[in-house]
């Protein structure tokens, strides 16, 4: 088992390195560009003295490298700085929003992942017949419309015309789970629709790829039933491609959340990020960017680690 543990450790180390590089990139991306933070906070009418004081307060006179390490050091200790516009502590502000976003993403994943795998299997089972064609037509349509428009179309039909769900997704801590779920029903539906198509198509491709292997033919020529062929021979070899598909789409879901939160005025990370991009509140944008990138890198890492663990050549070395 030693070589496989080494590979996993390497993969984890690589992700951490990647995250560090990403933090550099995000920090540099907001530094090298024109624009003076102090000026944008105080506005054009600010006196030179006020600007100089604020710059000193914010540490803007330090060299960028020093500022980067201060920022990184803070971030590692859970201190993401203070928002320029409101003066609020960013870590506190993000806390509850992050859990709201996770709540939304969790339910979207909980519905879309099993559904996508089931429909993907269905498409394989009825390959080139009508269920398969229906699924690919649906895929083409859904990747041709941006998420936010799917959101408004559903809002228009389900919330405004049919009045099944509320059109905005307000949630707060005093609500019961049932109330919360009712409130996020629409955004969850939209997110599910958005990732479902891709996930289905990729699951179908992954399973078809395995089903075309010579060992599946061997199993068929042993006279096994379709169910046993899939369960014993296709499934063990499909785990890693399917996990990859799921992780890739969850990563995509994380990005979709940003836009959907804006559509449904949902108090989460996405809404928070977009608001502060418009206000040019750099520390908030940096903090949110880092968190989104960390989730994204983490999901990709999990996919790779599952691939390593599921590979029989690595699990049973020569």
């Amino acid at each position: 088992m030693a070589p496989i543990l080494k590979l996993v450790a390497q993969r984890v180390a690589l992700s951490l390195l990647l995250l560090l590089m990403v933090s550099v990139l995000i920090f540099a991306g907001t530094m090298i560009l024109p624009g003076d933070v102090a000026q944008s906070i105080l506005g054009q009418s600010a006196t030179p003295e006020a600007l100089a004081n604020l710059r000193a307060d914010l540490g803007l006179n330090d060299p960028p490298v020093t500022r980067y390490f201060q920022w990184l050091w803070g971030a590692l200790h859970g201190d993401l700085g203070t928002a320029l516009t409101s003066g609020q502590d960013i870590t506190t502000a993000i806390g509850s929003r992050l859990s709201n976003t996770m709540f939304l993403a969790f339910w979207a994943a909980a519905i879309s992942v099993p559904l996508a795998i089931f429909l993907g299997l269905l498409a394989v089972r009825y390959q080139n017949r009508w269920p398969d064609k229906l699924i690919s037509a649906f895929t083409l349509t859904s990747i041709s419309i941006p998420e936010f428009l799917i959101g408004y179309v559903l809002m228009y039909l389900l919330a405004v015309k049919l009045r099944w769900f509320p059109s905005v997704a307000m949630i707060n801590d005093s609500m019961s789970l049932g109330q919360k779920l009712n409130s996020i029903a629409l955004p969850v539906t939209v997110l599910t629709l958005v990732v479902l198509a891709q996930m289905m198509r990729m699951t179908r491709a992954a399973i078809l790829n395995v089903m075309q292997s010579a060992y599946i033919e061997t199993a068929e020529l042993k006279g096994l039933t379709m169910f046993k062929i899939i369960w014993r021979h296709a499934f063990p070899n499909s785990i890693s491609p399917i996990v990859n598909v799921v992780m890739l789409n969850l990563a995509y879901l994380v990005v979709g959340v940003v836009v959907i939160e804006v559509v449904f005025v949902y108090p989460g990370m996405g809404q928070y990020l977009v608001d502060h991009v418009s206000k040019r509140d750099v520390p908030v944008v940096q903090a949110c960017g880092l968190i989104f990138a960390a989730v994204y890198i983490g999901l990709n890492m999990v996919a790779d680690i599952v691939s390593i663990l599921a590979n029989p050549r690595l699990r049973h070395p020569k």
Binding site: S213, A214, Y215, E217, T218, A219, E220, L221, K222, G223, L224, T225, K228, R232, H233, P236, N237, P312, R313, H316, K318
Partner: protein, 545 residues
């Protein structure tokens, strides 16, 4: 007379082809073939690619691969027509009464399960044996098939055993359920020649000891002659000839069969080295970047003008690496190469245009050796333009001359590679090499991907061109029959070293060293009883296993 085990009548098989950009087309690939197979007998199905031999073999399991479908006829096994059976009955047939051994065991084993699980699966599933009985049976089969450590090899995963061993495991898998019929589909084609003979012997003994009937599918008549009782020769989905092994080998009736039997009987008189060598490899040692292992060890060979040096060896012998070193694709770590009185630089990038022109190369896979978006005219014309500055009518005239030399003719000038057959493609590649008017052409396994008769045509063409153009060949191959047909000198390579080197007669005349003996004796010969003789006389354990 008792009913035969397998009775095939007027079998027709169709396939749907999906040509890109065109609507799918249905074509017939087997046109009404009939034959019988008695219990305990072995029928060899032989033919070139596209003959329909695998398709016919699989029809005995009522199975069509990919878009293939059985469209007509009858296939009777144990007294019932399986083409009219229900799916559940067909399932009992597959893996119970009839089993299958494929060409590539490496792909046919599930990588995620142990060998034992897969070997006993059909036997247990079909209710023929209990799990414990099946495992005992499997171990006995492993032992009979000559697998090392038969008690424990089943616990390994497919990637943990060698290719030759896995092919024998696949045979165990097929024999474990005690079937009435086994379909062997080119079971030794992917193996090296010294490994092939062991697997072949193991299969032959297993068939004899278990008394199972078999369909043995191959393109190699010499191989099938060793294991079969009867042979059916197929071509383009039709039966050409059907008879006992003795009759087919010793008294073939049809022209096509005669051609197959006499394949590689080109008689080439070796020439004595007269002048200075045109290409000399001196003390060359080489390894691939980032490895610590020499793939070539102190190699010394000479090639004389207008002659052929055959470099022969199995996979991993370093013969293709030698070609890469000479062409300058892989700089050697030690040693020198002299060419036409000059010293060649190590890297082809630093060689003069004259050096590059005079040393040409022909590749194994003609398919990928030609740019699919260039016409034959462009492909052959480019060296003319590049080295000699020929343009327009002058260039066209020379292209047509070259096309005539390779026996294709002017009409091919505007065709794309995809419109050519395998043999035609290789001819165009030969013309491209000749266009540079080289002194030496390196031929890397140029006939290995071709059917035997087509390969023969290419060899004859190469010999003929050698006379006309006075070009020398460095001919790299794993096939000793090819070596005999074309060479003046031979270098036998084994594990990166030249094991034996000299004129054709010297190399092929005893006394041999152990490896050369093993290699020469492993090449199937087109006569009955050859396999038994060889096994009886074995001096050295097989090299690759």
């Amino acid at each position: 007379m008792s009913e035969p085990l397998l009775k095939v009548r007027d079998l027709k098989i169709g396939a749907t082809v999906y040509a890109p950009g065109e609507p799918p087309k249905d074509i017939e690939i087997v046109h009404g073939v009939s034959f019988d197979l008695e219990r305990g007998k072995v029928l060899g199905l032989i033919g070139e690619s596209g003959a329909g031999k695998s398709t016919i073999g699989l029809s005995s399991m009522a199975y069509g691969r990919g878009g293939v479908e059985i469209t007509g006829g009858e296939v009777w096994i144990n007294g019932r027509d399986i083409l009219k059976s229900k799916l559940s009955d067909i399932r009992r047939l597959r893996g119970g009464e009839v089993t299958y051994v494929s060409q590539s065991a490496a792909a046919s084993f599930n990588p995620a399960k142990t060998i034992m699980e897969q070997v006993i699966e059909a036997a247990v599933e079909q209710g023929k044996f209990s799990r414990r009985e099946a495992e005992t049976r499997a171990r006995a089969l492993f032992d009979k098939l000559g697998l090392p450590d038969p008690e424990n090899i089943g616990a390994r995963y497919p990637h943990q055993v060698s290719g030759g061993q896995l092919q024998r495991c696949m045979t165990a898998l097929a024999l474990c359920p005690e079937p009435d019929l086994v379909v062997f589909d080119e079971p030794t084609t992917a193996l090296d020649v010294t490994t092939q003979i062991d697997v072949l012997m193991a299969i032959k003994e297993a068939i004899r000891d278990t008394g199972v009937a078999a369909l043995y599918i191959t393109h190699d008549l010499a191989v099938v002659a060793q294991v079969s009782d009867d042979i059916m020769v197929l071509r383009n989905g039709d039966k050409v000839e059907y008879g006992s092994v003795d009759q087919i080998i010793n008294d073939p009736q049809e022209d096509y069969t005669k051609a197959l039997v006499s394949v590689r009987s080109i008689n080439h008189e070796e020439k004595a080295p007269t002048e200075e060598a045109v290409l000399s490899v001196r003390n060359v040692t080489a390894r691939y970047k980032g490895t610590k292992f020499d793939v070539l060890h102190n190699v010394n060979v000479d090639l004389y003008p207008g002659q052929t040096l055959a470099v022969v060896g199995e996979s991993g012998s370093g013969k293709s690496t030698l070609a890469r070193v000479i062409t300058g694709l892989l700089p050697p770590s030690e040693g020198e190469i002299f060419f036409a009185g000059r010293t060649l630089t190590e890297d082809f990038k630093t060689r003069s245009r004259e050096d590059l022109r005079e040393l040409q190369m022909i590749f194994q896979m003609a398919d990928v050796a030609m740019n699919p978006r260039q016409t034959v005219g462009t492909i052959i014309g480019r060296p003319l333009e590049f080295y000699f500055g020929l343009r327009g009518a002058e260039k066209r005239k020379r292209i047509i001359e070259l096309l005539d030399e390779i026996e294709l003719g002017e009409s091919f000038i505007d065709r794309f590679p995809a419109e050519l057959s395998g043999g035609q493609k290789q001819r165009v590649c030969i013309a491209r090499a000749l266009a540079a008017k080289p002194k030496v052409i390196i031929c890397d396994e140029v006939t290995s991907a071709l059917d035997p008769l087509v390969a023969d045509g290419i060899l004859k063409l190469l010999l003929n061109l050698q006379k006309i153009e006075d070009v020398a060949y460095l001919f790299i191959t794993h096939d000793l029959a090819t070596v005999k047909a074309i060479s003046d000198n031979i270098a036998v390579m084994y594990k990166g070293k030249v094991q034996r080197y000299g004129s054709k007669t010297q190399v092929l005349t005893p006394p041999f060293d152990d490896y050369t003996d093993l290699l020469l004796s492993s090449v199937p010969e087109m006569r009955l009883g050859w396999l038994e003789e060889v096994i009886a006389n074995r001096k050295m354990e097989s090299a690759g296993n």
